[in-house]
């Protein structure tokens, strides 16, 4: 077979392109130079500074509170939505699908400004609670899509059999649906959690005084702060995400 080398060359170039900034960032987090143009010696000073940065730890706390609560609620709502979308082929579900699907494609800034207008219009004070509501809103769609994907090879006759044998709905949900769907629900939850932790644009629009999340803190550091501190913070985040994904991947393989 005659095959061109060009696609391979492009692929190698793209992978280099993907890793260059990440690599430079990690290296610079150990660089004594402030802007990393030249190597001025190995240092852990930036990590030490980071460790004593109280505002960062406060924002990490806020981020985790929001991520955990938003994931919990969006998993419930997203999973029921996926069940409805998979089980019923009605007019209602066509609109339902559209409503779930659209938030995935529209730019984040539009969801951010829309929610800000809504909260201002009904007089909800901006803060952690409004960020939580916003995060649940976009997480529902992602959870629903992931669970819906897993439902494609789910056999509903099991549920019908249980219902025919006299089980009530809560029993069916608790004893059959949730155990069988758990791989889909867990990957949906992981996705929601990651997206919530990383969200900047929507959070920035609906945040109020005292509700600074980690991405909002990072943004203000980029705008006004010290670059090496962000390098160090990013490297830690990279290691944490890497470990989290590794663990969840292992967990997922065991499930299957």
């Amino acid at each position: 077979m005659r095959r061109s080398k060009l696609p391979l060359i492009v692929t190698a170039f793209v992978i280099l392109f993907f890793y260059l900034p990440v690599f430079v960032l990690v290296v610079n987090s150990f660089n004594a130079a402030r802007f990393g143009g030249a190597w001025e010696g190995f240092t852990l000073a930036w990590y030490a500074k980071l460790f004593h940065h109280r505002e960062i730890w406060a924002s990490v706390r806020n981020t985790l509170i929001i991520a955990i609560s938003a994931t919990a609620l969006s998993v419930v709502i997203g999973t029921t939505a996926a069940l409805a979308l998979h089980r019923y082929q009605s007019r209602l579900q066509q609109y339902h699908y559209l409503l779930i699907y659209t938030p995935l494609v529209i730019p984040e800034i539009l969801m951010g400004i829309g929610l800000l207008l809504f909260f201002v219009a009904i007089g909800v004070p901006l803060g952690l609670f409004t960020i939580f509501l916003a995060h649940v809103t976009f997480c529902i769609s992602y959870v629903a899509m992931v669970v819906l994907g897993r439902l494609q090879n789910f056999d509903f006759s099991v549920v019908e059999a249980a219902l025919d044998l006299g089980a009530d709905l809560p029993t069916v949900a608790w004893r059959i649906l949730i155990p069988l769907l758990s791989p889909g629900i867990i990957s949906g939850a992981l996705l929601a959690f990651t997206l919530s932790i990383d969200d900047f644009v929507i959070s920035f629009f609906v945040a109020g005084p005292g509700s600074t999340t980690l991405p909002i803190r990072i943004y203000s550091m980029i705008k006004h702060g010290s670059p090496p501190l962000i390098n160090a913070l990013s490297t830690i985040l990279l290691v944490v995400t890497f470990l989290a994904v590794l663990i969840s991947q292992n967990f997922m393989e065991e499930e299957q």
């Binding site: 339902h96 699907y101 539009l110 400004i113 994907g149 943004y219």
Partner: protein, 291 residues
Amino acid sequence: MKASTGKANEWFLSLPSLMWLLILFLLPTLLIFAITFKPPDQFGGFAPGWTLHTVESLAQPNYPAIIWRTIYLSILTTVVCILMATPVGYVIARSRGKWRQILLLLVIVPFWTSFLVRIFAWKVLLHPDGAIKQALLACHIVSTDTSLLYNSGSVLLVMVYNFLPFAILPIYAAAAKFDFRLVEAAQDLGAHKFQSFMRVFIPGIWRGLITAVLMVFIPALGSYVIPDIVGGPSGEMIGNKIAQRVFVDRNLPHASGLSAFLTVAVLIPMTLVMVMQKRKQKAEPLIEEDA
């Protein structure tokens, strides 16, 4: 009896997400249009009554330039992403077993970093004291006063970097389902390499290509953080103007007016594609769920 309990179950399952998204997604989106016609008040909210003042002030002379820049940067980003992603998707789909897993992982891993951190990494790289400028200076490709940062070029570069995986994944997903024997058949029948690629492979993955275009073009139109961090005044897009109206002069009706415009700009390609998809193939989800 059975039918009515079925209907009740359907509502029971649909109501939570339906209500949540109607109130916290659809209603806020409609509010964007409504508040465009509200006068602002001095506390950063909006006053009662209706006005056309915002709509008139949107005809400001500097807006057309920014709107034009937003559109051409988004189109350019999409074109570059598709041109780079198609060979990559092709290579990943043609590789076997372990290699395919490794390549996919190589594409995804850098994007486990935070979105802001990735943009920041480019700011550091492109900075006058950063690695790229120093390397280019050493090779005498640029002079000391060339700026790699704060122009449309740096915005384009970082947008391509950020959106490229969203083009690669759907193209790969479509290419993985493509029957490569068709390409071999075309070549056996005398088509040369490029011909068989363009006339057999590309039409074979058109669904993936369209998804890729949407996944890049629509978020690109709404870019705000990328031009904000690496763009500077000469790289501003509509998103920056919306944010300035919200965070700098707190004029929510004005921000709404710009957002309403952006919403319409986003809905046009979305509906176009939906209509096209409906015509080509009936009611199949646009996104590959396993991508």
